[in-house]
Amino acid sequence: MISRRHFLSIAAPALALSGYPVHGFTKEPIEGRIIVIMLQGGMDGLLAIPPVGDDNLFKQRKALVASNPLKLNPLFGIHPNFRNFSKMLKSNEASIVHATSFPYTGRSHFEGQNIAQSGSKLPFSTNTGWLGRAMDFAKITGKALSLDAPLLIRGAPEFDNFYPANIEKTRSPQTALIDLIKETHDGDVMIAIDKLSRGSMSRPSRLRARDPLSLATKAGESMRELNGPRVAVLTIPEFDDHSSIGSTTGHHPELFTLLDNVFYNLKTALKEQWDNTIVLTTTEFGRTVQENGSAGTDHGYGSVGLLAGGLINKSSVVANWPGLASKDLYEKRDLFATIDYRSVCSACIEAAFGLEHDFIIEKVFEDKKIARIYEHIFG
């Protein structure tokens, strides 16, 4: 079995683990685990979970629908690359929240990612993250592993950050720089940079990203220990497909396979602790409903959240479906987000840490208008 010290010595910067428990006060002594998978770049929720029962899907995006989605119910299907996740859906270990987003419509990666981690309505308005604050209120002390501690878990008490000695396998600074450059452009220029950046990253380099599959297994192995961390954060970058996003196959579908296997590896590594775990994805925004001129999609609004773990009792797709007719779209281009994703985050905190919903929305999110969606996911 992997020791915590050993874990800290080998795990990688795209992973942050925290939450070694101490005595706390919650409504019930729940020893749940939360794992957040940050899908950076903006995942295309309509490609992942296509609303195949909505005729406007095929009118709006002709080429961007997988040819063989697995049908979940009369309205929704799932991309065929989510084979493990589909199995979890079938065995009531997973659920989907669709047409959802953090409360942000500005379509900026930096602002969107900040809001997805801070849980605030305004970007850069706080220097702590919603998960870190929840850990604080649940009296879970923090031990985190990250090159750059993600904002998401900042705010946890006794938070500790580990800087790995082996920088060779960290995320390429070059990638981060390109992201910055892309951020300052839009339209064709941004698409051109997107293509060029992929070319530039193809040059041999010893700076590598640790793959999320390995990190998922490492996280699961560590978290299954009795006094192991109760929170982990993983990152899957590169969802920002302005060009050649793919449909049945392609870049986004490959990332779906990767995400699908991250779920699988987490479940496999967590073993019996899977029953006390909730894994949820976050993404800064969805993507445009229609494809652009480069067979990709641009920054949008509503997307989808995928959840899995033994804390779920009954699988379902939760959605107040807004429709895909042009009149139903946000600013006539984006899937409308009808569910504040902070409701989902609150429900996960409630399920895993035992904090009351009213307490969470007031103290963690400082927004009393966030609706309770616990029953829909965990009921």
């Binding site: 992997i2 697995l70 049908k71 979940l72 119910n73 309205l75 690359n81 084979r83 493990n84 589909s86 199995k87 859906l89 079938k90 009531n92 396998k169 995320r171 390429s172 997107d194 293509k195 060029l196 992929r198 070319g199 990253m201 193809s202 041999p204 380099s205 590598r208 990203a209 793959d211 599959l213 390995s214 998922a216 297994t217 490492k218 192995e221 970058p237 050649s244 196959t249 392609g250 870049h251 490959e254 990332l255 396979t257 990767l258 296997n261 699988y264 590896n265 009954k314 699988s315 379902s316 797709v317 939760v318 959605a319 107040n320 569910i339 609706a371 969606i373 029953e375 829909h376 009921g379």
Partner: protein
């Protein structure tokens, strides 16, 4: 006598009318409740129509883990009492979002991770020993090397020495694959793929997490002891099929060469 009959008639009319009014109030109570949820009952007019019936059945089904409901107009009084009682606030909360049940009829079957490589269905000879061989696991169609390095063969089983694992995903298509970043591909539209992760693993250790290779116990037949052989003859080091096709349709080939 006539007066008595008239009174009875009036009483009966009032009773019927009163009951009807009460019934309409119960329906209205349900409709007003539903208008505060995402289940649309149509106009709040006190009339029990198809929309009202569908909406209240959907709400109550959702509240009961998708158990089918058969609520009719005659149930309106009881339903109104429920909605107005202790359970009202919880039902209102449940009614704020729609849940769609999962009905997967397709057999998804057993699925293996991308880190699983199953070569169990290969029969090979035993009782051979080599200290050092080169091995490669290639994703056949795409030419993507998933792993390579040195492996020993001890009594027909493999002992991995220094080896390198390529985690990540290979791209599809026939585009040119880059040698050192084999899960990136060059295409007309740019370079695709995710950043790979190379994991160097020392002798006596395995990659963490394990890139699971499942081998039969009689897996290896030694290749000819030949340093000048062509690659094709070296590939004969494994008898029979040495391919494995994963759940995503990727085929992998396990090759051993240059044993000494």
């Amino acid at each position: 006598m006539t007066k008595i009959k008239l009174k009875i008639t009036l009483f009966a009319i009032l009773m019927v009318f009163g009951t009807q009014v009460q019934a309409e109030e119960n329906v209205l109570c349900i409709q007003k409740f539903l208008t505060k949820t995402v289940f649309n009952p149509g106009p709040s007019d006190g009339a029990w129509g198809k929309k009202t019936e569908t909406a209240i059945n959907q709400l109550m089904s959702q509240a009961n883990n998708f158990e089918p409901q058969n609520i009719k107009k005659s149930d309106a009084e009881n339903i109104c009492k429920t909605l107005s009682g202790n359970q009202g606030s919880k039902l209102n909360e449940i009614g704020q979002f729609k849940r769609f049940p999962i009905v997967i009829t397709e057999d998804i079957g057993e699925i293996k991770s991308l880190t699983d490589f199953d070569f169990t269905n290969i029969t090979l000879s035993t009782n051979v020993t080599y200290k050092r061989c080169s091995f490669t696991i290639i994703q056949t169609k795409k030419g993507f090397t998933r792993a390579n390095g040195i492996v020993g063969i001890e009594n027909g089983t493999l002992v991995f020495k220094n080896h390198v694992w390529n985690a990540g995903l290979a791209s599809s298509g026939r585009d040119h694959l880059l040698k050192e970043e084999a899960n990136l591909k060059l295409a007309k539209t740019g370079v695709h793929g995710i950043l790979p992760h190379l994991s160097w693993v020392a002798e006596g250790e395995v990659d963490k997490p394990v890139q699971y290779i499942t081998l039969g116990k009689d897996y290896i037949k030694p290749p000819p002891k030949c340093y000048s052989c062509s690659p094709s003859s070296l590939e004969e080091g494994i008898l029979g099929s040495n391919n494995y096709t994963d759940d995503y349709g990727n085929t992998y080939t396990f090759k051993i060469s240059s044993c000494s």
